[in-house]
Amino acid sequence: MAFDAQAERNFKVVGTRVARPDGIDKVTGKAAYGADISAPGMLHGRILRSPHAHARIVSIDTSAAEALAGVKAVVTGADLAQPEDEGFADVAINCLARDKVLYDGHAVAAVAATSKSIAKQAIRLIKVDYAVLPHVTDVDAAMKPDAPVVQEGRALETVPAGMSQNVTTHCQFGHGDLDAGFAKADKIIERSFKTAATHQGYIEPQACMASLGSDGRGEVWCCTQGQYMVRANCAAVLGVEESQLRITSSEIGGGFGGKTSTFIEPVALALSRKAGKPVKIVMTRDEVLKATGPTISSSMDIKIGMTKDGRITAARGELRYSGGAYPNATVDMGAQAAFAAYDLEAVETVGWNAMTNRPKEIPYRAPGAPTSIYAVESVVDELCQELGLDPLDVRLLNAARKGTLSSYGPTFNDIGLVATLEAAKAHPHYTAPLGPNQGRGLSCGFWFNFGGNTCVSLNINDDGTVGVVEGNPDIGGSRASISMMAAEELGVPYDKVRTVIADTSSLGFNDITDGSRVTFAVGLATIEAARAAIKEMCRRIAKIWDIDEDAVIWEDGCAKPAGPNAGTHPPMSLAEIAAIAGNTGGPIAGHHEVNADGAGVSFGVHLCDTEVDPETGATKILRYTVFQDAGKAVHPDYVEGQMQGGAVQGIGWALNEEYIYGEDGRLQNAGFLDYRVPVASDLPDIETVILEIPNPGHPYGVRGVGETPIVPPLAAIANAVSRAAGVRMTELPMSPPRLLKAMTG
């Protein structure tokens, strides 16, 4: 759907900072999240998890648990279907293992009991006989030909023969003559990097309440980024039909990509089917960290050549990602994104994914991009240092722009990178003085953004208000932005519109809330649905006025005659038209179903000042500024919120957050005390600068904004820390012990 020239008009609602519709419920404690509802007769479910990184399940004896008073059902992997589709099969064996456990924390059995404490007691009575297998948790180790094999036969056809069976994915992107490019360079730097897996760290653990009858009809209430995804997974894993499952998404207490998969809902349904009662499962934080989505861990080599005046002549990256115990394609995204910010004559990125005995990777904001761009931006910064060049000028000199052949294939059209870099250069932050042990870093970031499958139904109520029904859980304020776009298009005040999120039985299929797609794609469908309703209203009024349908226009929330030839009818407001809908043909509604494309890629630039403590290795973030192209910021507060939240998650990734595995392959820090996410006292204000370079693929020019902000912080901070500490840091996180070691040699 093309950018609307009309969007040049002055927006009335879009771009304002209205109060969010879910605000009052959230500040008074009334909002209902995954764990907040209960049902009569409800049982409590609990999951038994593997203590081993890798083991064959010899036998599971559930008899003692079943015999415990208050236990109403016990299930194991044998109670789930074995879907043929590989994706669903992975979900099934990840929900409850079958033959092998693949990581510390892998679910093996579950119970439902009349109380939490009985359920807890019961899982201790389940006896699992494990034959422990050798394990591997490091990506480089997993790629060695003699590494323990996590799963057999999972390599794609693109993986060359002779590699470890852990290697599942191989990809390569790029263009141009690398050798010729490197030969033209005055300086070439080649560095290797490692990054730890991190967790999305949403504050609300996964939770659900599920009920499934012997007739195959079920209901699930759960916190998820996609109720239709939950439905598909549950139907496949339980062998029931999608039409029989109604999934309702609760308020969601954070996701960041981490709630784009299914861990507990099929288990709760299986328990419920056996027990004949609703079952609630709430994960503990320990379970969340051990068994739900961390990111990939990575090992990367980057080589970049530059002339002494700062032109990049050639660039090559090799990425080795591990997405845990299952195949995944995150490295494809990382490899495509790595050099996206640059206009390069010769570039190549090669990617590999290797399985390790870690939990299944689940997307986390711009999956794959933060790590590869961290490595690339670190080397660019080091080249600038070595050649005595200004890092912003070098980015501007090499920046991708309209007409640039991107490193991942297509030629860019309208993109906002240069404007974003120029905004950073003009900002006072860039020239502010620095003190001793302080350093300034910057980095570009990039994300693709998606559209995707979307349904919206918009109803004109008889009192002249408007209801919008959409199917994407609201993770960042999207109900507000959707209501705003409906109000804008219809010409009614924002508070006349209420947007609700449908359960799976009330609206057609929607893709998950991912890829920064909701404000873009659901917004687009809402605008189309509103236009359909407007068309219908104009048609009805044309009948009343007895003129041509085309002679009625919609302006400022009213139907009006198009011009003098259409007569002198007084305008009719939406409310007036709604009030007589029954007389003019019945209820008025608009709807739109689309697989939206044209989301438009997004770039951001982050500037960061840090101070390192030479005695402790601790890093303090002194100042942080985020510059990002939002296309059109529908609700600027929540655009800023995305930019600030993403930046801080990136700060955590850069400085502290880390999955730490012991020699035994077990996760050593499965709690918020030891897996340290940034707290308020760690941080300065996060300044934001929103640029608005309209996306040609959206009527209002909207681009997704949610993911790009997590991409630049890793390198922005690494570059600032490296400059402050006088030593190039090549491993994340730059935790105090690691930095101290680097500084003291």
């Binding site: 794609l156 990509g257 995204m333 030629t411 693709f448 494309d597």
Partner: protein
């Protein structure tokens, strides 16, 4: 005829070609023709691909029109967070 660019790791499955020419007027025809001409590409196409048309990325839109004047790039299927 439409020219479509394959990403590097697919080229080994398409006789080493970077650009493949096929007869097609939309994405569906393009993907069908690619899988027929180079059966090695069929598994990837079945798993899912994206296509960039003059710089705009499309995930699954079969009936998107394409012609010889367009830049058509095959890309892996996109996932997000």
């Amino acid at each position: 005829m439409v020219r479509v660019k394959l990403w590097g790791s697919l080229r080994a499955l398409a006789d080493g070609e970077e650009w493949v020419e096929v007869e097609a007027s939309n994405f569906k025809e393009l993907l069908d023709a690619l899988a027929e001409k180079h059966p090695g590409l069929a598994p990837q196409i079945k798993r899912g691909v994206s296509l960039a048309l003059d710089g705009v990325i499309y995930r699954e839109a079969w009936f998107t029109k394409i012609g010889p004047e367009n830049e058509v790039i095959l890309m892996p299927y996109m996932v997000g967070g």
